[in-house]
Symmetry: C2
Subunit: 171 residues, 2 copies
């Protein structure tokens, strides 16, 4: 057996050990567990990139949601992001204090406030797109087999449908 | 064009609309966003199944981690699950109150407590395995192209490595 083979074998073992360590107690043969780890690492990457702007993923998601909708209030953010009222209140306060968003009194209902992006907030949208593209490029997603993406999409549909079916049974 | 085609077309459009609604403001063409939704729906399914045992995913993960390790305390749970100290304290209290786990004074350091499963707690391990298997079966994972799982595993490795590389740069 040549030494190059041994070196590769050794490196591969180290790689597996590193993987096992990062996977922790999760089962690397179980799809749900891998999904968990994959998602966690995606989130970690985004949070790390966003920290350069003194932001977290929650803040970024708030800004994107406000950007996508015209008449959005704190409750919509809380519902849309499945986060507690207090987490959203905290995030909105920070975003307002730092000049990313502002609150406007609703024309329809003077008691309510709707959220709007400031110019600084609007400038964040292309930044977030660049962060997403950087991750996709570093992950090599542009060279992926289109067949993979199709199955990945189908599985996500199935995961959504399993929950929808359950909800329909409950109603 | 035959009417059967129209019906299918109509159903497909409804299906897409339902998908768009559940995806919310996420971009269904962006892998990171699909990953987010996939993970969220997996979590939702597990939480729903676990609610039959008056449990949430956090509780289940605590029990599994305690099962996997001999000398585990609250800090290890908090570190391993990337959850705040207060979230773990709350979960551990509930698990203890309901008889899933118990606290034992550490032999090595009398000031510290280690967590152990009760018989009820041990009986939960096969229940969790069954829940995982039920999801996998309902998702049709056993009929998946092995090539898909290989790419999925590789991508997860890459996502982990991107973060490890960043951490190494920081050190």
């Amino acid at each position: 057996m040549c030494s190059i083979y041994n070196i590769y074998n050794c490196l591969y073992k180290l790689y597996l050990m590193k993987f096992e360590k990062t996977m922790g107690f999760y089962d690397s043969n179980r799809m749900g567990d891998i999904l968990f780890i994959f998602h966690k690492n995606h989130k970690k990457y985004l949070n790390d990139e966003l920290s350069k702007y003194n932001m977290s993923l929650i803040h970024a998601l708030c800004i994107i949601m406000i950007h996508e909708s015209d008449e959005l209030n704190q409750k919509d953010l809380s519902d849309g992001l499945h986060l507690t009222k207090s987490a959203i209140t905290k995030a909105v306060k920070k975003l307002e204090d730092e000049g990313w968003i502002l609150r406007e009194r609703s024309i329809e209902d003077k008691r309510h406030f709707i959220l709007k992006l400031t110019d600084k907030g609007n400038d964040f949208i292309p930044i977030m797109n660049d962060i997403n593209k950087k991750w996709e490029s570093e992950m090599g997603l542009y060279e992926l087999d289109p067949n993979f993406m199709q199955i990945f999409n189908e599985l996500t549909h199935r995961a959504i449908n399993l929950n929808l079916k359950k909800e329909m049974k409950k109603d």
